[in-house]
């Protein structure tokens, strides 16, 4: 792909102008006061004040400067004012993260490593502390197939760096914990409706309440329908394949959510059903066949128990049930070239079910030590993969178990020097055991400065799909795949300048060994193998700033260089440069807000060795709060400048680059009862 230099320059000019505006913010908008709604405490009498509750954040609140990692937080207000439609939109704004989509699923890359050949994301994603990636392919759904409607998210906490010492496998490059809202966040009910490009409609109905005895209930249902757009793929531009045109990009999904909290107990249940039509003819399918689609169904039931025995000892117990069903239909022509077509709809299925239990203790035996220890057990009752049409090509079912124990000590050596050391032991019925330590040194030069030196080890076990998803003619068996291990060294400097500005500078180096990737031989048969390894080194820079009139923004840049140890080549789907820019402007106090963001993704190498040029995407959302009482209207323009861009296909695609949407719009109305 050739980059249009002129477009790049004008895009850059616009980004520069935005940044200048950002710097000039306070001078341009002479408004006063913050946009937060605050009850007038000063109008209350003494008796009334005695009834006001103090708001506290999580029980194990840690000054963000003392956390042994670099943390980013995205709030419900951010999600609303930036017009985030999916978890992918949310994470795309996070420094160091990049998402890519193949018109079927969305995948997450971090620190230069993104899955190019399979479904596994090396970032752990949790909802209210419960794991959600499936037990066959280790996939997390980030699009309209995500378990939650993002309107229900209270906060997203992104913790960078290896966290396997506490969370176990999958937390190689970080942990994303999604915390959902409570019933008390809704007066009673809320209804939302959205219309967007390509005949897209989304509706949501939410009910939330908290009762006298403290019982808190939140229930919600959402429905999403989209016709998708008509697409053109030049790789299929031939009269035999409809001249490359395909009108089969529709999607619909339904989300159900319920959460009940009472005292120390909380139950979160979420369900998603999602159907996506596939336009790309991936996996060698027949082009432009109406039957090509995937259907995913996921259910999560998570129970959490939190109890404080005293201010020195507390316990947390978790029990999780997960179910995942995937049903893919792939019309394939089995005829030999030249013969009349023999099209059969190939059926691909995954059925996963698993139970998980965890117990974690936190103790503060002395002022200087904070200990955390616990254990986790997982039983996979179903790991069923099947592929068939007139023949059965794959029918594999497994029920492995794994467990782990961990311990961590946060030792405050001096008032301004903390050592955070942890270790975890995991045992997998499939691949044996692993020990992963983590150590962090946090030096608080002042309450506004933190220098962190971090070392961590993490691993991830090969997935059942990678090892046993073998089908003759498509993929070979790799039963003896070894786990990947990673060692990361990181230096982070966080500095608060005044009360309005926070700067973070970080440098990291990691060595990922036994990197699992799929090699495809000359006959087109793939096999998952442990490669020699991947080296990654990079630097990050981020600034977060708030102004008196409520304008707030964030700008971040990440530079990563990845290298395959044996060939010294750069990893595919690994952008060297990533830049993110976010700004919220309260145009009219408490009434009108503008949320603008730009993300630049640098040049990446495709799976086939070609290159996709860098591109910048800008999104703008304008929100009108209380247009009439309790009614909010939001207008969104995504890919504002109609930039043409695409993501690398994988070995399963004929297309080298899969083009993404141009400019689209959305109008959303939300009404509170």
């Amino acid at each position: 792909m050739i980059i249009n230099k002129y477009l790049m320059t004008s895009k850059l000019t616009i980004m520069v102008l935005l940044l200048l505006l950002w710097g000039a913010g306070p001078k341009v908008f002479a408004q006063q006061q913050d946009p937060n709604h605050k009850e007038d405490l000063f109008a209350m009498s003494l008796e009334e004040l005695m009834d006001v509750e103090v708001y506290t954040a999580s029980k194990h609140k840690q000054n963000i400067h003392q956390a042994p990692a670099s943390v980013t937080i995205i709030t419900a207000d951010d999600i609303r004012l930036y017009g985030y439609r999916t978890l992918a939109d949310i994470l795309q704004s996070v420094r160091g993260f990049y998402l890519f989509n193949d018109r079927n699923y969305t995948y997450l890359g971090a620190r230069g490593v993104g899955p190019a050949t399979d479904y596994y994301n090396r970032v752990l994603v949790l909802i209210d502390g419960h794991r959600i990636s499936d037990n066959i392919g280790g996939q997390t759904m980030f699009g309209n197939d995500f378990l939650l409607d993002v309107d229900l998210i209270q906060r997203v906490e992104i913790v960078r760096g290896p966290a396997a010492s506490l969370y176990g496998a999958d937390a190689m490059f970080g942990v994303v914990n999604i915390i959902t809202k409570h019933g008390k966040d809704y007066k009673t009910a809320e209804v939302a409706g959205k219309i967007a490009s390509y005949q897209t409609y989304k509706e949501r109905l939410t009910y939330g309440n908290v009762f006298q005895n403290g019982l808190d209930i939140l229930v919600s249902a959402s429905n999403y329908d989209s016709d998708g757009q008509q697409l053109y793929y030049r790789e299929f531009d031939d009269p035999a394949t409809h001249n490359g045109k395909v009108d089969h990009d529709g999607e619909n999904s339904r989300n159900l959510f319920a959460k009940i909290t009472l005292g120390d107990w909380s139950v979160t249940t979420a369900n998603v059903t999602r159907k996506k039509e596939i336009p790309t003819a991936s996996f060698g399918q027949v082009f432009n066949d109406d039957r090509s689609q995937t259907l995913d169904r996921k259910t999560l039931v998570g129970l959490t128990y939190n109890h404080e025995f005293s201010d020195k000892l507390s316990v947390m117990g978790k029990a999780t049930y997960n179910q995942y069903d995937y049903d893919g239909r792939y019309p394939t022509d089995y005829a030999n070239p030249g013969d009349p077509p023999d099209i059969q709809v190939n059926k691909d299925m995954w059925a996963g079910q698993w139970w998980q239990g965890e117990l974690m203790f936190t103790a503060q035996p002395s002022e200087r030590h904070k200990l955390t220890w616990g254990g986790e057990f997982r039983y996979n009752t179903d790991e069923h993969q099947k592929n068939w049409d007139s023949d059965v090509y794959l029918d594999d079912n497994r029920h492995p178990r794994n467990w782990g124990v961990y311990a961590q000590d946060e030792y405050r050596i001096y008032d301004n020097l903390t050592v955070n050391a942890g270790v975890r032991y995991d045992e997998y019925q499939t691949v044996g055991s692993a020990i992963n330590p983590r150590i962090g040194l946090i030096y608080n030069y002042s309450s506004k400065t933190a220098l962190k030196l971090l070392y961590g080890q993490a691993f991830r076990a090969p997935t059942t799909f990678e090892r046993y998803g073998a089908m003759e003619g498509y993929q070979e068996m790799s039963a003896d795949l070894k786990p990947e291990t990673i060692k990361t060294y990181e230096v982070v400097l966080e500095q608060e300048l005044g009360k309005d500005l926070k700067v973070t500078v970080a440098g990291f180096y990691y060595r990922l060994e036994d990197f699992i990737t799929k090699e495809i031989d000359d006959e087109g048969v793939g096999i998952f193998q442990n490669e020699a390894g991947v080296n990654g080194k990079g630097a990050e820079f981020e600034m977060e700033k708030r102004w008196q009139n409520g304008i707030r923004g964030r700008a971040g840049y990440t530079c990563v260089q990845t290298e395959l140890l044996d060939t010294h080549e750069r990893l595919s789907n690994s952008p060297k440069h990533l830049a993110k820019f976010n700004l919220i402007v309260p145009v009219l106090k408490d009434k009108l807000f503008a949320g603008i963001e730009t993300q630049y993704t640098g040049e990446t190498k495709t799976y086939n060795g070609g290159y996709i040029g860098g591109f910048g995407v800008t999104n703008l959302t304008v929100t009108y709060q209380d247009l009439i009482k309790n009614l909010e209207v939001a207008f969104g323009l995504y890919n504002l400048f109609d930039k043409k861009y695409g993501y690398s296909g994988s070995g399963d695609h004929v297309q080298e680059s899969i083009e993404q949407d141009g400019r689209t719009f959305a109008v959303k109305l939300t009404y509170r009862f």
């Binding site: 940044l19 710097g23 913010g25 008796e47 005695m50 006001v52 708001y55 005044g498 700008a555």
Partner: protein, 205 residues
């Protein structure tokens, strides 16, 4: 390739420029809410305390609320800048220098000490804030220096009343409560209304 490598440098230059651009802003941390409630309490409490000999001249002078230990607390009072207590204007002052006390040195050796104490004596009400979890280690010393002067000393750490402070805030079941040292109040020539004593969780005589 060269085009793209230039971009990051441009970003970096602009970031630095934005950092230099001056601006003030608010801190939105959640702990702020607790301080706002306490500030609202103090705003009310002043109405139930009588300072000695309030002459006609005094009625024109503003009431001065001093804050030491945590600047965020003084910001919690921004809402009352235009309001009045007892028909007098209110001034909220943050007096720096009492944040991180050094145990090892004797505060009186510090030449600024006398000057700072003189500043504190100008206040009608003085709030001793705990910075994160650190107390103002010289609190007892400061209270001793102010003893006898008509200053309503308020704090938010356990043992504040025992050090000689007059009002102390504490949290009970996520709600703010206060306790009163009546003996200290008397020594400072301050009269505390019965209504306030009734609402207090604990009163020391």
């Amino acid at each position: 390739m060269n085009n793209r490598i230039k971009n990051p440098a441009v970003f970096l230059i602009i970031f630095l420029w934005a950092a230099v651009a001056p601006a003030k802003a608010e801190d939105d941390s959640t702990a702020h809410k607790e301080h706002q409630i306490k500030a609202a309490f103090l705003y009310n409490i002043i109405n139930f305390v009588e300072w000695p000999e309030e002459t006609k001249e005094d009625a024109d002078k503003p009431i001065i609320i001093g804050v030491i230990g945590n600047e965020q607390f003084s910001q919690a009072f921004t809402a009352i800048k235009d309001k009045q207590i007892k028909n007098r204007k209110v001034i909220v002052k943050y007096i720096a220098g009492f944040e991180e006390a050094n145990d090892k040195s004797n505060p009186k050796d510090n030449p600024d000490w006398k000057r700072k104490i003189a500043e504190l004596k100008k206040c009608h009400l003085l709030m001793f804030c705990s910075h994160d979890t650190k107390e103002i280690k010289n609190a007892a010393e400061v209270i001793k220096e102010l003893s006898g002067s008509p200053i309503l000393t308020a704090g938010e750490t356990s043992g504040f009343l025992e050090k000689g402070g007059i009002i102390n805030f504490l949290l009970e079941d996520k709600k703010v409560r206060f306790e009163i040292n009546l003996a200290s109040a008397k020594r400072s020539q301050l009269k505390i209304s019965v209504k306030l004593l009734k609402l207090a969780k604990r009163v020391i005589e």
